[in-house]
Each structure stands twice: as C-alpha cells, then as structure tokens.
Amino acid sequence: MNETLEKRHMGLKASRTISNTLIYIILIVMSVVWLIPFICIVLQSFRVESTWQVGYVVPQQWGWDNYKALWNSDFKRWYLNTFIIALVVAVLQTVIVLCMSYTLSRFRFKLRDGLMRFMLILGMFPGMLTMIILYRVLKDLGLTQANAVPGLILVYVASSGMGYYVSKGFFDTIPKSLDEAARIDGATRAQVLTKIILPLAKPIVIYTILTAFMGPWGDFVFARYVSFGTSAGMNVAVGMYSWLQLDQIGQKYTMFCAGGVIVAIPVTILFMCLQKYYVEGVTGGAVKG
C-alpha cells in the first residue's frame, strides 16, 4: 500500500515536471514568434546596403541612413499630424465618453433605455458606410486634404459617445450610496461627479485616455479618404502605407521599417507605463459586455 502510494506521488511530481517543461517550451517558442517581426523591423531599419526586401535578417552594413531619409521626407509632417490628432482626441474623447457613461450609469431618465438600445442598433451598421457622406461634408467645410487634421479630429470625437460601454461598466461598480450620501451632504450632481466619482474612477479615466490616444495612430481607412492623396494632410498610417505599394516599395522598404520604429517607440513606452490600467479596462469591459 505504502509503496503504491509513493509511486503515485512520484508520478504526480514527474508529470508536473514534464508538463511544466512543455509549457516553458511553448512559451519560449511563442515569445520568439511574437517578437520576431519586431526584431526584424528594428534590424532592417538599420540596413544600408539596400532598400529592397531581402532574404536575410541581420544587415550586412549598419547605419542611420534610413532615419536620416525619414527626417528629409514628409514623415515629419505625418508624425506631427498624428501626434496632434492623438493628443486632442485623447482629451476630447475622454471628456465625451465620461459624460456619456456617467449619465447612463447614474441617471434614470425617461429615454435612457431607448437611447442605449438605439446606440446598440447604430453600432450594427458598418462604419465604412458613413465615410462617403462624412467625407463630402468635411469637403464642403473645407476640412479635407491639407486641412485634414481638424476634420479627422472632428469626426473621431463626434461619434465617440458610442464607446461608453467599458467606462459605464466601471461606474456601475461604484456603489450608488456614495452618490446618495454626497447628495445628502449637500453636493449637486455636478459636484458628485467631480468630487466623488471621478477621483474613484481614475483607472478607467486613464484607460479611456490611453485608448483614445492610441486610436488615431492606427486609423487608416478614413484618414486616407480625408487626406485624399495630399501629403500634408496624411497621418503616419496613410503616409507609410504608400511606401509599401508596388511603385515605392523598392526604395522605401527600409524607411518603412525605420518609420515603424519611430512610431512604435513612444506609443509602446506610454502603453507599458499604463499597462495596469489598460488590463483593468479590457478585462472589465469584456466581463460587462
């Protein structure tokens, strides 16, 4: 009896060692797969012997040529455009999302349920559809091509009220009795928001700012529509996309890599610093639905 028991224990230990080893192997392989493209980008951004795609990873000649070329191209302009858009959108979108989600979480007014259902239905239309008309409207307002930056900001911010789910879910977890206590203590609803709810909602405020800031860096379709081939109005995504088209890829491939590095660095650093809040928001949002 004792012997079989011992064997069982041994088996348990051995199988745990095996499974853990297996997991480590998988994790290491995964890490490699996940990191390789980024390592390649970085390495190739330093390649000077050719600007074309090649069948090897490590450059034969290292240098800053690609970065210098970036500095002399329209990339600066695109980068500045994107940065301005991201900054303004981060502020305005956060304000709008917070207004929306606080209201829907805390007030019970007549049209509340109808409003939420309506927005759910609106969300089912492919956003692509509205681009044509938005483009025409922006064009009439003179906010396209070279003036694309304010136009893009306007459109990004205007519809951001629809993305209230995550923060509303967070607000819902703050006990309502805090609001009530504050109102009895003499606070108006506006004071409840500024003095009680917002200080408590710091993680979700940061999450909202972070996602709002990151959004414009990746937007491609609409930005391309609005800039309409005018370099001065492009953001990095649109501008750099053109470098990978057939007519340019031969000369601009390594420049694309360098640009990618420049774009990724600040966003990644910011993201890594605020990762905690991002994780909180993402998990909360998925659970709340």
Partner: protein, 375 residues
C-alpha cells in the same frame, strides 16, 4: 429638532408595483421612531422618500411643517447613515466628515472645531488621517455617524446602520446609538429588519409588511397588544406559538381547548373578552414561548408532548416540542428553574408536559388575523 409628518405617502414604481401604500405617520420632535419589517416591506423606500433619494409618487412629506416633496435632499435639513456606510474611499476620515461643511463653504477653522468635536464624541480622534479602507467595521460606522452629526440636521435618518456588523459589535453600537441620541437630542428615524434593535431603541415602532403599516406603537404596546397576527409573530424571539383552536363560552366565562385540554381564559384577557362580547367559535390562539411552563403529569391543563430539539442558550433553554397531534411548539424555560437531573433528561424523545395560563393568551380572528381584543 423637528417634527416629520407623512400624509398618504405612496410609492409606485415604473412597472406599476406599489412599494408603499398610503403611509400616514406623525413623528414628534425629538422622537426616536423605528421602521421595522421583513425585507421588501417598503421601510427603506419610505425612509428614502423622506430623505429625497426616491421620488414621492403621491401624498406629502412635511419636515418642520414645510412640505419637502420638491426639495433636493440637501435642502431638507436631514442627515443620513447608510447600511454600507457610504464613506468616500478616496478621502481621509477627516475629509469625509468635513465634506458637507466644505460644500457649504464653512471656514476651515470652524470645520476643524466641528470635526474634532464629533471625533471626540465618537472616539475616532486617532484615525482622522486614515482612509476608510484602513478602518474596522465599527470604526467605519462611527465615521458615518460623525459625518451625519456635523451637519446639525433637523432629522437623523439611519438605514439599517448595524446590519453589516458582527453580532457582538452590533450590541455595542446599539448601546452607543442610545447614548448618541441623548447627546444629539434630535429626531431619529431608524430602519431595521431586526426586531430586537427596534424594541431596544425605539420610542415608537412602525411595523410594516408589503407596503402597509401593520402597527404603530411603543415597544410595550407592540409586544403586549399586537394588533394582528403578523405583528405578534414578528415581535419577540423566539417567535410566538400559534395554533387554531376553539373559543368556548360557558356561563359568561371563556375557555379554549387546545390539544383536548380545557383552559380557562382568566384575568385581564378574560375580562376583556367578556366586555367585548366575543362570540364563541374558531380562533387563532397565540402564546409566547416564555409563557409556556413545564407541568407535572396529571396536573390540570397539562398537555403531553415529546421533545424534539433542545437548544441550550445559557440562561435559558429553547425546547422544540411536538404534541400528540403533531403541532410543533417552542417553550422557553429559564435554566435556573430546572435541576441538574431535569436538564440531563432533556434529550430528544423525552416525554414532558406543558401548560399555560389564560392571562398570557392572544386571540386572533382566523379570517382577518386581527387581534380580537384590540379595537
């Protein structure tokens, strides 16, 4: 320092559910009134309507003679303590208590005075710079009370303030609330589901069920003269034994015949029955566990029964017994009345005899469940 008057107050929710039906109550200045009832009886809703946290569907609420239906909570001159304390987690104890004063733009030195004063009374001076999460349940409770104290409000509202505390702390805080009340000397409205709290704290108890008031009265009145079966069963622990039986009238005297044993309704109860000319017939008989006594075999009125469970409470035993027809009863026997041998005998299956006197009985109409002896 104010009276509160509720006239035909009603709460109807959007889905047409009526939570409170025509609630009439006159609360005198400096009175301590407790709303008590099972969950969902509308007691909290009523309190929240007084506070202004819930719209009043119909009727009026007056504080100090002024109709406050359309006033915001902050303008009603009330303070409130919540069940989960509702302390602002991001503020220190000091800031929590000072919050309402700051909103009123009271000068900081006055705030300091008031807050430290309140903290002194509540014994939380040492914690003023802590955040609520670093406090124990009892301390949090004190902060919540302190926050309400500094407002100098006319009416003090408390919504189940003790139900998140453990049993021991609850007893302690209950005593402190009595002391606090003496110090503050203001009108209190207190909501609880615990009848012990209601009995010990209240000047008057309001017992509610399904949005209706069942009885309003002093603790003694509610205990001695429950207006109906619900109140009778709700007040008192363990709860009153009730059984259906026959009320017999013979020669001007009344008798009941529970379990085939004829017991005369004598004393005050008998006189009252006679005075009301109560008709004979089926009644619901109620007897509190502490009014049932152990009897000897053969004694008149002795009812034979079998012990099912014996709960030893220390100073008393709660005996759960069943009679020959299977009715379950609870008997409360002071430990001191029994010899050690008798106590040892009290095991499941033990046969014993019980009896009760006529003067302790309560009678309820089987149809309306109203007390036969109240008007």
């Amino acid at each position: 320092m104010a009276s509160v008057k509720l006239t035909k107050v009603k709460k109807v929710y959007d889905n047409k559910v009526v939570a409170v039906h025509d609630f009439d109550l006159d609360i005198k200045d400096k009175e301590f009134v407790v709303f008590v009832g099972p969950s969902g009886c509308g007691k909290s809703t009523t309190l929240r309507m007084i506070a202004g946290l819930e719209d009043i569907s119909d009727g009026t609420v007056e504080i100090d003679g002024e109709v406050v239906n359309d006033l915001q909570p902050k303008d009603r001159g009330i303070a409130m303590v919540f069940q989960n304390y509702a302390l602002y987690p991001h503020m220190t104890v000091y800031d929590n208590i000072a919050f309402s004063l700051r909103l009123q733009k009271v000068p900081e030195d006055v705030i300091y005075e008031k807050v430290t004063n309140a903290a002194e009374i509540l014994g939380i001076t040492d914690y003023l710079l802590r955040k609520p999460r670093a406090l124990s349940g009892g301390q949090r409770q004190r902060v919540a009370i302190g926050r309400a104290m500094v407002r100098n409000s006319k009416v003090f509202l408390m919504d189940e303030p003790l139900s998140n505390l453990d049993a021991k702390l609850r007893n302690q805080m209950r005593a402190e609330i009595i002391l606090l009340r003496q110090k503050l000397d203001t009108t209190f409205i207190y909501v609880t589901h615990d009848q012990t709290e209601a009995m010990t704290l209240a000047d008057r108890i309001v017992i509610m069920k399904d949005g209706f008031i069942m009885q309003v009265g002093t603790p003694e009145e509610c205990f001695d003269m429950p207006k109906n079966l619900f109140v009778a069963e709700f007040i008192g622990a363990p709860k009153m034994n009730v059984l259906k039986t026959e009320l017999i009238k013979e020669g001007g005297k009344y008798y009941v015949k529970p379990f085939g044993v004829k017991i005369e309704v004598d004393g005050e109860k008998g006189e009252k029955l006679a005075k009301k000319q109560a008709a004979a017939g089926e009644v619901i008989l109620g007897v509190r566990p502490e009014h049932i006594v152990l009897a000897k075999e053969g004694q008149t009125g002795a009812i034979p029964c079998v012990l099912e469970v014996n709960e030893m409470m220390g100073s008393e035993l709660h005996l759960h017994v069943y009679t020959e027809d299977g009715t379950r009863l609870i008997v409360r026997v002071p430990t001191i009345d029994l010899t050690a041998a008798q106590r040892e005998n009290m095991v499941t299956g033990h046969k014993l005899f019980i009896t009760f006197e006529g003067k302790v009985m309560h009678f309820f109409d089987p149809e309306t469940e109203k007390n036969l002896l109240t008007d």
